[in-house]
Symmetry: C2
Subunit: 468 residues, 2 copies
């Protein structure tokens, strides 16, 4: 391939990456502070953007350049880069522009409807928008897979090659094991609605920002803002945005939310800054992304060593806390219980929440369940799997933002991420020795360095916003 | 024109409006909170966006639809709408896509360089970026006007038909009149660097947000954020964003900044919500925009009636203020002095600041002044026109964001806006009687209603971000 051709290819790809970054900004803004009335305009803008990107992705000039480059004798990395570009082009070409636009619009509207439904605690206000998103998502997935399972196509969006049968088996085995371990656990309601504000938000913000920075998140290249549901989005390695929410009667949702998102953010900030338009400098897959987030959240944040390191600062930030010793803090953040909210769940019960979502979203796409039936189905499954019933939809079907934003097939990557995080920890400790010792000094630099070397410098598919 | 053609035209135009709104969001984000390191990525994104929009504006399909519609028997409003679309297409067609992209990139980088230069109080850090922006702006303007004055083409961007000779005459007459009135005024330095924080920012925010809401700004359809230089940007009538900055030793920059931006914001929020893709529902011109801002800032905010209405709340917000009576407050906000900062200037000296900028930017584009000579030229002109010398570039050539962001030809509209605001007040009082009486009760609804009826429902060119 002539240098001019490669440069032209990079130029076209850089433009698509710019549009990706712009889309992330529009979505971030919608979730962090867009004026409430602007929803319809934002949906229009996102639809126009999706249409323009579709036209760029399906531009014959781009395909021609890819074909030319494919004829060269390429290195493994160059082949991987090209495969990534091709995968994205193929997916764009398969779905008509109009459908792509409609999906973008529906996802944006879905988010607004979800917000409104949460405010009224009424799933019915969200159901019509969700129906539309499911319908369009199924249509696009079906076009791509033909006779195959639409749900399988969605899984493939987040983890290339992930198969339904394999996941069925995994969740069956995992579910059985976990249910026998959790059946006797106490049932906890979410949120301490009436408890005293032991953990004022300003102090929480100071603590979690400091923690995030200490473990390596660079606030010159990122920021932290409030949102209804925590997430991390990356416009580039130099612009990585975390969000969080908090509870003034309980420090755990804020702290673990930020550790989780920081895990995502560290991955994004650590990506190599290659030449503009390179398709290779992106994260590997959602599974790998989640493994990084869950590593920092659980293997660091819920470890005894970490709390020995953090205890003094914790008490300084929250003088009224009843937790006075590292031991008490560590027990508090590891208390296992059957509770309704996934993101606040302990490690033992967490994957049961994922199993529920997996069964439900699969049923939605295999035609066994309609959106209208979703709320009672959700509640029944929680009764079956976790032995509790949500008291209201904020504790139930309205708790997660994913489906509102059109993300179906994403949830299983959390469980896979948990499994991968445990394996990574084992491999890390084989090399570094017990990490608890380092955490007592809040010495996390060597952990991050290990992750960057062993995990974050490998190769595959495009970046997406990652969710909690 | 067949309905299908009109609908196609509206569809194409809606997409361009969406790109405009997206550009506004990217710029707003860059000025309000983008991570510091992300500047180069933002410049790339804005350049890609400008390139895509250029391709949409120069799309033969769009031009064909405009030509078809031009053959119909059109109403005056339809003709005005079409003229607006044609004006924009013609301007896009005249400038090559590459130059359009380069200009967008340079303006974005210019803003970052300006920020950095402000932090170091060093014009030299800004000069290279400004040189590039001036060079590209001149190139684009020259392509458009051929043999004519490049600066005239820039004026026309903000106020169609505005002429250099006419402005020369205006500033000559105005300058003479104002200098005779201001020669004896005391000279004040900017900022009370060492004064006590009599006006804590939280209280200021509460007061100015409340004021803004009281005079009609709808926070469901807008927001207020901090920025280095105050501005108002509108993504749509449902998404209007004001910014402000403050000084804890002086309430005036914050309060008058917000009143000014609220004036802009009220105009944007009051635009009719017509069908998507209509080109008619935008503000008339920058002059008219500024007249609205300066009306609320000066004719309302610096009036005795307003301060009689506001005094009790003012003292409640700032119990330590030495200003204890409406009279004292009113005198404080009308104290005339020769001072270095334009946005903080009183009504008497304000237009002299504009005259300085007018002479400088004209010289920059007519080849009489290079960017390297700009700082001493600025300081000399201030000595000549206002009889003072900036102590450092924050008080001088680095004070305004406009040139950094590529806005040349904008400044004169402030003076024209001042003149128009005074005329509007006269016409308003002919109908409503003295507005002071209403302001004593903080009854501003009838003023806004009058402005919406008499000014804000008239017709001409596209919306832009408006600056302070």
């Amino acid at each position: 391939m002539a240098d001019a051709d490669l440069s032209a290819l990079r130029g076209l790809w850089a433009e698509i990456q710019d549009l990706d970054a712009i889309e992330e900004l529009l979505a971030w803004d919608q979730e962090t502070g867009m004026p409430a009335a602007a929803g319809p305009d934002r949906a229009d803008a996102l639809a126009s953007l999706a249409g323009l990107r579709h036209r760029r992705l399906t531009d014959p000039a781009l395909r021609e350049l890819v074909a030319v480059r494919s004829r060269d004798g390429l290195s493994a990395v160059e082949q991987a880069e090209l495969a990534r570009i091709r995968r994205r082009i193929d997916r764009a070409v398969a779905v008509p522009e109009e459908l792509t636009r409609a999906l973008a619009r529906a996802s944006s509207r879905g988010f607004d409807a979800w917000l409104e439904a949460r405010r009224s605690r009424d799933f019915a206000l969200f159901a019509p928008a969700l129906e539309e998103t499911v319908r369009l998502t199924r249509e696009a997935a079906t076009i791509r897979v033909g006779e195959g399972s639409a749900y399988a196509a969605l899984l493939d969006d987040y983890e290339p090659g992930l198969e339904v049968a394999w996941l069925d088996d995994l969740f069956a085995r995992l579910g059985e094991e976990l249910r026998s371990r959790t059946a006797e656990l106490p049932v906890l309601a979410s949120g301490g609605d009436e408890a005293a504000p032991l953990y004022p938000v300003d102090r929480q913000r100071e603590l979690v920002r400091g923690l995030s920075a200490n473990i390596g998140f660079d606030f010159e290249r990122g920021r932290l803002d409030p949102s209804e549901h925590p997430f991390c989005t990356a416009l580039s390695p130099r612009d990585v945005r975390l969000t969080w929410r908090w509870d003034e009667s309980d420090f755990r949702p804020g702290l673990f939310g930020v550790l989780h998102e920081t895990g995502h953010g560290l991955y994004e900030q650590g990506l190599p800054e290659l030449s503009r338009g390179s398709a290779i400098a992106t994260t590997v897959s959602t599974l790998v992304h989640e493994s990084q987030a869950r590593f920092w959240e659980n293997h660091v944040g819920r470890s005894a060593g970490f709390w020995r390191g953090l205890a003094a600062s914790f008490v300084e930030h929250f003088p009224d806390t009843p937790l006075r010793t590292p031991e008490a803090m560590w027990q508090s953040v590891n208390a296992a219980a059957r509770s309704p909210i996934r993101v606040d769940a302990d490690e033992t019960t967490y994957d049961l929440h994922i199993a529920v979502r997996y069964r439900l979203e699969r049923a939605l796409f295999e035609g066994d369940l309609s959106v209208r039936e979703l709320e009672p189905a959700w509640d029944d499954l929680y009764a079956e799997v976790l032995g509790l019933r949500p008291r209201h939809p904020l504790e139930g079907v309205l708790q997660d933002v994913h489906w509102a934003a059109g993300l179906f097939g994403y949830f299983p990557t959390y469980t896979l991420g948990n499994l991968a995080a445990a394996q990574l920890r084992e491999a890390m400790e084989d090399e570094l020795g017990p990490i608890e010792v380092r955490l007592e000094q809040l010495e996390t630099g060597s952990l991050l360095e290990w992750l960057r070397r062993e995990v974050q410098s490998t190769i595959t598919v495009p970046r997406k916003t990652v969710r909690s």
